[in-house]
């Protein structure tokens, strides 16, 4: 078992390193003039701009910059933001932003699982009847229509009907409702869809027929046997989704002006804030690798059929 974990950890580390270096090099391809905010570019002449770039060490050779960045990281200094929040330590940035996004993410995931599984069971219960059709339409809309569109309409219309505040206010809990619901929509659809599909697949397995023959009514069989089998494939992704909450949703955080990490990565890239991009990409890579690994452990723990020593 531990040999498996060690091998798995090494491979994950390799992945993270490759991702880190790949993004680092890609960032170096961006034009130098991109480091300056467009509207203020005329005010500083060429020479002053060069001074600025040299101060930030952006004119050194990429490998030198990589070495310096990694060196700092090992001393626990994540460096400072370049252009998005000049000179603000990235650590404080993350400390401020992650809790906000995590709070929303966690709440929406909870709602997602509870309502998603509820909807999934409801649709299986009333298979091919009205309830099932309604659920399918909901899943259809949430997964097919681009998220920006229905989120925009929700913000414009629903906030008016229920006169909820348009944007998020830290001190007014009523303003938290709408963003959380928007955020949870896609996970509700995800869990409902897959639970229904797995339940339907498991339903015509032999052990279900045998359980019925034993004298258990269909409802009991669904509850005791089929549900656990159907839930296992869903559990694999829960650790990953849990950790990746930090990524936040760019669309929702922009529409509701939530100061989370949703748009942070994109803004950082567009204003070429190399330090900030590096730290975020590294964080995402590590978290997703751990998420996947935890997912495998969790399944091995829950599903007796899978033994870890069998390797991937």
């Amino acid at each position: 078992m531990s040999r498996y974990i060690l091998r798995r950890a090494l491979r994950s580390l390799l992945t993270v390193v490759i991702v880190f270096v790949a993004v680092f090099m890609l960032l170096r391809l961006m034009p130098l003039s991109g480091y300056f905010p467009p509207e203020m570019i005329k005010e500083a002449d060429e020479a002053t701009r060069m001074v600025y770039l040299r101060n930030q060490g952006l004119l050194d050779h990429p490998m030198v910059q990589l070495g310096r960045f990694v060196g700092n990281m090992f001393h626990g200094d994540l460096g400072r933001s370049l252009t998005v929040y000049p000179k603000v330590p990235i650590a404080t940035l993350l400390k401020e932003k992650i809790p906000v996004t995590a709070a929303f993410g966690f709440a929406s995931m909870l709602i997602g699982i509870v309502f998603g599984v509820g909807l999934g069971l409801f649709m299986v219960r009333f298979k091919d009847k009205a309830g099932d059709k309604l659920g399918t339409v909901f899943i259809l809309l949430v997964r097919a229509v681009p998220s920006l569109i229905y989120l925009f309409f929700i913000q414009v219309w629903i906030s008016k009907w229920f006169n909820l505040p348009l944007i998020f206010y830290k001190d007014r809990p009523i303003s938290w409702i709408l963003p959380t619901i928007c955020l949870s929509l896609s996970s509700i659809a995800y869990y409902a869809l897959w639970l229904r599909r797995f339940m339907v697949d498991e339903e015509n397995q032999d052990y279900v027929k045998f359980a019925q023959v034993k004298g258990l009514p269909k409802r009991e069989v669904l509850k005791r046997h089929v549900f656990k089998n159907a839930a296992i494939p869903l559990i694999i992704y829960i650790p990953y989704d849990l950790l990746m909450i930090i990524a936040g949703s760019l669309v929702i955080e922009t529409l509701y002006a939530i100061p989370g990490t949703g748009g942070l990565l994109t803004t950082a890239i567009k204003s070429q804030d190399n330090n900030l991009v590096q730290v975020i990409v590294l964080m995402y890579a590590i978290l997703s690798v751990i998420g996947v690994f935890l997912g495998d452990l969790l399944v091995a723990f829950v599903d007796p059929r899978i033994k870890l020593t069998e390797g991937e």
């Binding site: 040299r54 348009l166 944007i167 922009t254």
Partner: protein, 648 residues
């Protein structure tokens, strides 16, 4: 929200003008008399907090190195300069009780108000006193290249010795200068740079050239503000990253700061002029989209909102109809820059011909372009002069733009397609042979990479490559320009081709001359035409088009050498008329934006024409001000302002 450059600029501009509501000196018709002004304000109840918003996330509070306009406005309420304008725009004492200058206005001495202390983010007085040394240290801070002081050009060329000191340090940093260590070079600051603290409470600036406009420079440029040097050195890189790493000496201090979300300014209890401060707190909320700001205004979640042109139309007749107030005029002017020395042989031939440039000027239907931003009354935002009107006044109150020959250009109505056609025919006659190929111009491929590359055949129609950003409003305007010019001059003569280049930066388009025409703006940011005009000389920093105008240069020399301010303005007016009249640069509209609604009483806070607006003195009512109330107060204000200007 489409994260566009133009939208960010728009909201940034809106930020600046959100205070304009309280200060605007609209040039509307006089209408109601002073008496009405009094009864307008009868029965108004006031509130002591003001809620407004900002859009793009701002950077840091380090006012020396910050590059973002949004932050400047917040900082200018927290850090006072030596002088500030009163509600009529007349410079009144601020941190400096009094000041005097020598006769050629190259040496300025300011007497600092005594007993003031720096305040921290909780509003408590710190042990640091505000002394003259703080102003000297301000220059010391920006003089060190390591501190990345931004847009240094004007101040660096003005204060004596600063230019050499700055580049010495930089040469040492990049290893070009090795004859002394950095510490030695830094130590030479006091004897090299023209700023001295004569005693604890008097600071004297010596300038390289005469600067009658020095006070307006203090107001607009952030680089002449004081700094508590020991505190800044102690903070190091953390100076200004948030409200706790800063000291305040202005009307407000930043009491609550939530990055990307909310900022609250609270009145500074130890402020020397605190009884003129009516607002206890100013609350900023971040919002993502301009449509939401109107919605939030209607729901009372903000006390101010800009209103885009079309929105204005749709709100007519609703309960908000009478609350819409036209924004004051802006000092930033939009120009078309022409490339006199580009790769495109066809355009080069024509652009150096005055007739063609006049044809271009007359082909532009400026009303239509204006209507894009101001559908109700487009003429309000049109402008034919390079410097803005209502910005620069001579000693007896005459507006610089009223000096002839500039006055004629200002009032000229250029929308005249047939005249444009005539000039075009003349230009073609001079430049092309009988069957339409341009003399001395062979077919080649024009390489404007990374923007674009295209082939030209050396024959009519002339290929014009307009390069703009990928911002939606600018694309819309470019397409409008194309339609007008081709309609007026005829598609057989002109082929107007638009290139929306998303990677548009000064470095990729303007500097390397990768364009035939591009659209940009410059603003008059202090009370002297030289601010812009000196940069437009043949070898001026802004002469991106590389035109060659010896006559213009001569006029500028004469203006600079003029002994009185009036003939200085006269010479500048002639130079500007020459440049604009002959179409070396084609100004056409101001960057003004639509309308706004506000709960502020107009003209109650300082009239900051160039710099950033202040909340000091601003009064906020419990319900929004209506347009008639605004007009009544505005008329009254104009009368008072004229008297104040005369009395100065």
């Amino acid at each position: 929200m489409k994260m566009k450059r133009m939208l960010a600029l728009l909201l940034a501009a809106a930020m600046i003008f959100s205070l304009a509501a309280c200060t605007s000196s609209g040039t509307q018709d006089q209408g109601a008399s002073a008496a009405d002004a009094q009864d307008v304000l009868e029965g108004k109840t006031y509130v002591d907090t003001y809620k407004t918003y900002f859009s793009s996330s701002y950077a840091s509070f380090n006012y020396f190195s910050t590059a973002y306009a949004t932050v400047r406005e917040i900082v200018s309420n927290c850090i006072d300069g030596l002088v500030e304008p009163d509600i009529y725009g007349v410079y009144v004492p601020s941190l400096a009780e009094s000041w005097e200058t020598n006769d050629d206005e190259t040496v300025w001495t300011f007497h600092i108000r005594q007993g003031l202390k720096w305040v921290d983010h909780t509003g408590a007085e710190t042990e640091y006193d505000l002394t003259a040394q703080d102003f000297v240290d301000g220059i010391r801070y920006i003089a060190d290249p390591q501190n990345d002081a931004y847009s240094m050009r004007v101040v660096r060329n003005l204060i004596s010795g600063l230019y050499d000191y700055y580049w010495d340090l930089d040469d040492i940093d990049c290893g070009d200068k090795t004859d002394m260590t950095r510490e030695e070079a830094a130590a030479r600051f006091d004897e090299m740079v023209g700023v001295k603290a004569l005693d604890d409470y008097t600071v004297q600036y010596t300038l390289d050239s005469s600067a009658p406009y020095f006070l307006s420079l203090i107001e607009s440029s952030m680089l002449l503000l004081p700094i508590e040097y020991d505190y800044a050195v102690e903070m190091g890189d953390d100076f200004g990253i948030d409200n706790e790493h800063m000291l305040y000496c202005g009307a407000y201090y930043i009491s609550q700061f939530e990055r990307d979300k909310a900022i609250t300014l609270t009145a500074n209890p130890h402020y020397w002029d605190k009884d003129h401060v009516n607002l206890a707190t100013v609350e900023y909320q971040m919002i993502s989209d301009d449509t939401t700001s109107v919605e939030m205004f209607k729901r009372g979640e903000t006390d101010y909102t800009t209103v885009a042109a079309e929105e204005y139309l749709s709100m007519q007749g609703t309960e908000w109809g009478d609350k819409l107030i036209p924004t004051d005029h802006s000092f930033s002017t939009n120009y078309l820059w022409l490339d006199f020395d580009g790769e495109n042989p066809e355009f080069n031939a024509f652009v150096n011909n005055e007739n063609f440039r006049l044809a271009l000027m007359y082909a532009m239907n400026r009303e239509a372009i204006g209507a894009l931003r101001e559908p109700v009354d487009p003429s309000r935002i049109l402008r034919n002069t390079i410097n803005a009107e209502g910005a620069i006044f001579d000693s007896n109150g005459k507006d610089y733009t009223d000096y002839s020959p500039l006055k004629e250009i200002k009032e000229m109505d250029y929308t005249n397609p047939d005249l444009a056609k005539e000039y075009m025919e003349k230009a073609i006659a001079e430049l092309c042979d009988a069957d339409g190929n341009i003399i001395g111009c062979e077919p080649t491929t024009v390489d404007y990479l990374p923007v674009c590359s295209f082939a030209v055949d050396g024959k009519l129609p002339v290929t014009i490559c307009y390069v703009g950003t990928d911002d939606e409003d600018e694309i819309v305007m470019a397409q409008l320009l194309k339609a007008m010019i081709e309609e007026a001059l005829g598609t057989e003569n002109v082929d107007f081709h638009i290139e929306a280049f998303s990677g548009w930066t000064y470095g990729t388009v303007a500097d390397p001359l990768n364009y035939d025409i591009y659209f940009d703006s410059l603003s008059t940011n202090y009370a002297d035409p030289s601010g812009i005009l000196t940069r437009l000389t043949t070898d001026g920093a802004e002469n991106v088009g590389c035109y060659d105008v010896p006559e213009y240069d001569a006029l500028i020399e004469e203006a600079l050498a003029a002994d009185t301010f009036e003939d200085r303005l006269q010479k500048f007016a002639e130079a500007e008329a020459y440049l604009a009249g002959k179409g070396f640069v084609i100004p056409f509209i101001s960057s003004l934006r639509g309308y706004y609604m506000s709960y502020c009483v107009p003209h109650t806070s300082p009239l900051t024409l160039y710099g950033n607006d202040k909340y000091k003195g601003c009064q906020v009512m419990t319900e929004p001000i209506t347009f008639e109330e605004f007009q009544a107060l505005d008329a009254q204000y104009d009368i008072e302002r004229a008297e104040a200007l005369k009395a100065k």
